[in-house]
Structures are given as C-alpha cells and as structure tokens.
Symmetry: C2
Subunit: 483 residues, 2 copies
C-alpha cells in the first residue's frame, strides 16, 4: 500500500473514507486494532531489528529495546482511549430559568481526519512508521499516511506491511494506514486538501519548510513538528563540589548515547568557572568508541558542525578531534569548553545544534551571567539542573521551565519515559505547538471539539448519553464526575 | 496605560514582568482579580452602555445584557481556575523496577506569557477589551495587551481604565493589562518577541493577514483567530411540513438579530425544493425595521455584498431590496432564494459571508444534492438541523459535525451560552485553531505543558505536591483522582 501501487489522491481518498469509519468505531474496537499492531511488531521483532540494524548502525540491543518501547506505546494509547477521559466529555444541562435561557449543550473531542506523519531518522521504530504520531492519531480515530524516512526505507516498508496486515486482520477499514516515500510526495501530502494535520520529527530547516507549507495553505492545518533542541544542563558549584566524578561519567554517557543522535542529547552544559570538571569529562569521554552514524549525510555533517564550533575564538577542544572522518570511521566524541561571555558574543554560532557525540561546557562566573546566557538559549525539549538540596534554586527552575517542556533534576535527559505525564515538546524550535509528541496527552493533537446543542440522544456519541453507558469520567454541570 | 504614554517595547517589557508575577500567584488570588474586574464592569454598566450605544448603535437593552454576559464570563473563569482541573495535573510515580526504570514525572499546564488580544467590532463588551480572550488569558496567569477596535475607541479606553483600576486595587501587578490602538501598533504587537500568543476576532482578510504574520515569525506563535462563518441551517421536508410558520419566524428573528452582525448569523438555509417557505420567510421578515450598523464602513459594504449575490443568475430576491443606502437609513433585511445547483455552479460567489441582515434560502431536490452542496460549505462556527423525530438523520449529523464546531437541533445559532461545554470555533475559516474562544475550555489556548522529572517538592507548583494541598482533580499513575 505505497505510492508504487496507488496515486496520492487515491490514497488520501481512501484515508478520508477510512477516517469516517474509524471515527464511528467504538473505542474498544480501535484499542483492539492498536493492540494487534503492537502484537505483530513484537512477533516480528527479530526480523525488524535485523533490517533496522543494517540500515541505521544503531545495534541490536538498542533496536530491540526500541521495538518494545514502540509496542508498549501502542498499548498505552489503547489504555488511554479505553479509559475515556481523552474525549473530554462535558455536559451542561438546559436551564430554561436562566437569563438568557441556557440550552442543553454536550461537548466532545472528535478525530480531526486524515493525518500525515513524517518519520524521524534517529528512532526507526519509536518515531517512525508505527511510532508515537501514528499510534496517537490512529487511537483517536484518524487515518494516517506516513512519509517514510529515506534513512531506513526497507525497514519502513516492512514495518508498514506488518502494520497494514495486522490492522486488516483485526478488522480495521481499508485505507486507515498507508506509507509513501519521496520528498516530493511528502510536500504534496502536506498540501493535500484531504490531510487535516501533520506530525513531524526532524531537522529545523526541513521542519520549518513543511510548517510554512502547512500554515500557508488556503485552509491552514496544524503542524506538530519537533525540530531541534540544545537541552541545556546547569550544574551548580555545590553539586560539582560534591560529585564531579559522577557528573562527568553521567554526562559522558548521555551525550554519546546512540552516537549523540538523540533529540534530547545534552548539548550545552553550564558549569561554574575555575574547576577541573572539563578535564574530568575529557577523561570520562576519551575511551568512548567511535560509532557509525545513521546516514552518510549525517556523518559528513558532524565534523562540519565540530569545526564550526572550533572556529570561534575562545572555544577549546578539551577531548577528541574536530578533524575526523566520521563517515569512514564512525563518529568519535568531542568535548568543547568555552565561557558564558563567549557564548553571549557568538550566540548564533555556538547555540546551534550539532547532531553527534559532542557537547559544549560553558563556564559561568555568577548567577547573573548564568541567567543572561540562559536567556539566549532557544526553546528546548529538556532542561536539566544538578544542584544540592538546600540551595535556593527557585529562580533558576523558573527560568528553565520557561525554556523547556521537561525540567529534570539530578538526571540526564536522554531517556524519555512513555507514560501519562510525559511532555516531549517545548518552545520553538523544540516544537511548533503547545503539545507533546510522546505520552498519553499526545492524542489531543489530532482531536477537535464539537458541541451538540439540544440534540436527540440517538444522534449523540455514547460518551454524551445521559446514562453514561461507556462509564467514563465526564464534567456534568461544571462538576467532574467519575463513573 | 496606552501607547500615548508608553512605547510598545515598554508595554511588552512590563507585560513580561507582570506575567511572571501572575504565573506565580495562587489561583485564588487571580480569581479575585477577575471577580474585581467583573464587579467594576457591573458597577459602571450604565456609563459604559451609554458610550457603547453612541459608538455602535446596538441599543441599550442588548448592550446592558452584553455587560452582564461579560462580567459573568469573568466570574466563570474565576470558577474554572478555582476548580483546578484546568491545570491538567498528572503525576506518574517513579518505577525503578520497570525496564528501563521510570523516573518520577509530574506534568502541569503553565501560562504561555504575554498575550495580544484583537477586539471585535460586533461585541463591544463580550469580545472586546474585557471579553473572553482577555478573561481567559488573565485567568491562567498571562498578561494581556489589547488592540482596541476602531469602531468603539472611546468605549475601549473607558473599559480599559475600569479594568486597570480594578486590577490595581485588587493587587494585580503593574503591566498585567494594557490597551493599544492603531493598525500599525497591532501589526507590531503580533511580531513583538515578547508576545507569546494572539487572540483575534474579526474578518477573514484581516485575520488571515495577522495569522500569516504570527506563523512567519522567526519563532511562530499560536494565533487563535475567529474569522468568518456562514452557519448553514438544514430544514427537512418533514420539519417544514410540520411547522413552517414557526421556522420562518425563528429564522427571520435570528438572521436580523443585531442587524445581522453576529458571527453566528444563519447565512445559508437549505430547504426542500417546491415549497412556499420562501414566501413565509419574506412575510416574517418584511416588517423588521432597518437598523443602523456598527460602522459606516460596514454599512457601506452591506449593499455591495447584497448586489454581489443578486448578480448571480438564478438568485432571486424574495424580500427587501439590494439597492439600499444602509449607511444613511440603516440596514434593511434582504432574503435571497436560489437552488443547490446554482450554488454548486457558483460556490465562490454564493458561499461568501455578507455581514448584515440577509440570508440565502437554498433549495435542494434530494439528500444526495444536499450532501454535495454541504460539502462545499466552508468551515463554520455552527450548523443547525431542523428535523422531525423518527427521521434518519445520522449521516446528515455526521456531515454537519465535520463542518462546524457546534451542531444545533431545532434552534437558532445566534445565542452562544457561556458555560463549560461551549464550543465556539470550527474548521477554517471559522477559526484558525482546534480551540474555542467562548466557554471554560478557552483557557487551554494560553497554557503550555511542562513536566518535572525527579523534582524536589520545594520547587514544584502546589498542584503537583504529593499531598494535593490545593485539593484539585489530578491523574495519578494513570488514574483520575478527585480531591
């Protein structure tokens, strides 16, 4: 079910038809579809991991874990729609005595329609064909057309076969899910009148170009893009005094994880001036092996990014080499060191994401300088603080909350739990919206509210029936009521 | 506190400062600020209505009701934030035993920052200086800079004085609320880096121009615009057979209400072919008086719109005259009649909003033709169905749900209740977002999620403290828990 066999207009027509059917299907039925896809991924994990490893160099252990994460994600969304709060059902009964008289009004969230999903290169399962965008859109009753990432095309096609087969066997409508590939098809997809929203994970230039297309349509549609993130880390003097060795080891593990190709890689580390922490990080990083990157284009861009940092006066290489052939030999870790003053002089060049196993240590002299340089950091997915208990960190936490969607304490940002409370998103350019792309609340991106006024119960979604037959949480006359 | 005394950059700097203070203020305190504004509006209602009537011609009874609606709206938002669900607090406790281990994660919605609000002409209170956008943004802890509508500038300034005085007396921070005026200042406001979201109610061309500015910023911001709506009404043969007189009277009352200047005015009425309903509507409309419109520009545009409809072959004037001087004599009602076939031939010209007391009756021959012509109707705020019980209206309701944010049964769309379940918004161009601008859930437009991972309780918002000191509904480990 790709563009090889059907034209884009045939695919979007089928997706529109399928979305109508899925929107009318009971939540329990859609939950069963998601579970069927999860089971099929797990059942075919070994084959999928083999293909993925040959295309991405990410290694079997990591990829095996990612399949489990992806099937777990599908099962989470099945639980989310079964629980029912995601419908945000609200009922206000009529009040003929009020001035003016109030009608009976019942609101619910409904699926937005066919959704286009653009896969990421760096998570060939969790942010790709059967990843979070696809799962959350299917969960609420949308159809999905995935634009495959060229970095793992064979995996995308095989995953799509497994997904389509599982959906079909579970009774989902034809056309609910499809895969396309090619840059031009992707562009056409965002502009297609049948497409009602876009999910995207990728680079700032690529994402912004598609965002601009989505918002300049005659009928603009929401574009949920995750584009780029520097993920600042702040370490206080007290924390460094207490546990610098542990921090150096933790940082080295985090910025090199997956060859530094995580969107939550800690790219900026603010440390007090005048310590030996840089040497400790260098020591902790020096034995990390060079690792093959996702694609040759990414591997070629890595040393370019390194050299751009190194060319700034006042930026030192404290570990590794900027003159490396990452495409031939794998990407080797590089640690930079500079001062907050230098970053304030060259924000455009130094506050730039470099995809790969590198991080920048930035020395600050006092809280005022730290606050000034943090104010220049673009919106990020995460911000991390390492402090000691008893320190007054209120103002710092407030500032970090303003620049990131997730604020971590005494940890590292490269793990992203898939659960109800997760927020994977942040101010632009981290994301282009006020929503998460990971976790239960990701479904809200693909829903639109509709209110029914004085409607006969026969035409209402069961979630809005007076007797609450679905037994879901609802707000009735202003009060939240559990079933 | 207008541009006369402070520059825009001074205003936005003050708004940024005030937003930080308001974000940290307890909900109870912000609720008290909103209540103080509501009380002040009510206390000054007579003076405000006088000014408004002199500027808008809307008449004292309607304007008096609108002040009450506006103060009631402020009080609703005070209740919404006091109840606490609006924070969407979610707590997932740590699970060290899971693979990978899960951290403690606590999510909350936080205010987005300073918001720009563009007033509408047609609701000088409810969608203006102290209207729904302002109230919902202030409620969640944002600061607000209102761009006054030139159609009621004196009222805007007097309202702003009352709002600012009430906020100040209630202890709200300086800079939390400001008023500016002038088209160029409005444009600059949308592009100002300090502004984090925009609320707008107005025309499609004006709104789209500002939407394009907001989305083409280096850092795009959400633009919540309500732009235009045709508000289709469908009447079945059975309903017409049963109660045509009542329907004609109801329609005549609705499309002429407020000189047809409601965003929910029924502009398209689909009726079965071959009835005498057009004559009944003509009869019901003919004695409705000509009424002064909001501004001379609007009054001059009205006959232009009428003549555009009348120029289409196959469109008949069944009541009133397209050659009228609405600026001099007030706007007199005009009823048009045509067929679904003609609309399908000329969708661009006939499916166009005409601000004023006019509506278009459109005859359909069967369900297939009705469905085909409804498919051409642009996204609307409302869609209305008049049917008889026992009719199979499932497919029709499904189609109407797809094109509007509120679907009404056996009523008229020109009343918009302000409550928890309201949805005032719809597919583009009705609105540019997936949110309502009226009712409790309007607050979500001005909030962004932030998750805190392994945070010490001392830095967390009280809503996320383990003991739930605010006693609000929260989701804990996947389960919704009432206090």
């Amino acid at each position: 079910m790709t563009t090889a066999t059907l034209s884009l207009s045939e695919l979007t027509a089928a997706a529109t038809q399928a979305a109508t059917i899925s929107a009318a299907a009971p939540d329990a039925e859609r939950a069963a579809w998601l579970t069927a896809v999860a089971d099929a991924l797990d059942a075919n994990a070994a084959e999928l991991v083999d293909i993925a490893d040959s295309e991405t160099s990410l290694g079997a252990p990591r990829l095996t874990g990612e399949v489990a994460r992806t099937s777990g994600q599908l099962r989470l969304f099945a639980r989310v729609i079964t629980e029912g709060s995601y419908l945000e059902a609200i009922i206000d009964h009529a009040d003929p005595a009020s001035t003016p008289p109030k009608p009976d009004l019942r609101r619910i969230l409904r699926p937005i329609g066919p959704v286009a999903v653009f896969s990421a290169s760096n998570f060939p399962f969790a942010f790709s064909v059967a990843g979070g965008d696809t799962a959350s859109a299917l969960a609420v009753g949308c159809s999905v057309i995935v634009k495959a990432h060229s970095g793992h095309l064979r995996l995308s096609e095989r995953t799509a076969e497994i997904v389509a087969d599982a959906l079909g066997a579970a009774g989902a409508p034809e056309g609910l899910f499809a895969l396309v590939s090619g840059r031009e098809v992707g562009t056409a997809l965002v502009q297609d009148p049948a497409i009602k929203a876009v999910g995207f994970t990728g680079s700032i230039p690529g994402g912004r170009a598609l965002f601009d297309l989505a918002t300049s349509r005659p009928d603009p549609i929401p574009f949920y893009g995750e584009l780029g993130s520097l993920n600042p880390v702040v370490i206080t003097a007290a924390a460094l005094a207490e546990r610098s060795g542990q921090l150096a080891a933790g940082l080295a593990g985090s910025f090199t994880l997956g060859a530094g190709q995580f969107c939550t890689k800690p790219g900026l580390v603010f440390i007090p001036a005048g310590t030996s922490f840089a040497a400790e990080v260098a020591e902790a990083s020096k034995d990390k092996p060079a690792v093959g990157m996702l694609t040759s284009r990414i591997a070629e861009a890595y040393p370019d990014g390194l050299r751009s940092f190194a060319s700034v006066p006042g930026v030192d290489v404290v570990s590794g080499s900027v003159d490396q052939d990452a495409a031939a030999n794998g990407a080797a870790p590089v640690v930079f060191s500079t001062s907050a003053a230098k970053v304030l002089e060259n924000p455009e060049q130094l506050l730039e994401e470099c995809f790969g196993p590198t991080t920048m240590l930035i020395e600050y002299t006092d809280q005022a300088e730290l606050s000034a340089v943090l104010a220049k950091v673009p919106g990020s997915l995460t911000a991390t603080l390492h402090a000691q208990s008893g320190e007054d960190i209120t103002a710092l936490v407030e500032q970090l909350s303003g620049l990131a969607g997730r604020v971590l304490f005494d940890g590292w940002p490269t793990g992203v739990a898939v659960n109800w409370a997760q927020q994977h998103g942040g101010p632009y350019p981290a994301t282009t919206s006020l929503f998460t792309s990971v976790g239960a609340t990701a479904v809200r991106r693909f829903q639109r509210p509709v209110a029914y006024q004085d409607a006969p119960e026969t035409v209402l979604h069961p979630a809005l029936h007076e007797a609450n037959p679905l037994r879901i949480p609802r707000r009735v006359d202003g009060e939240l009521v559990l079933p």
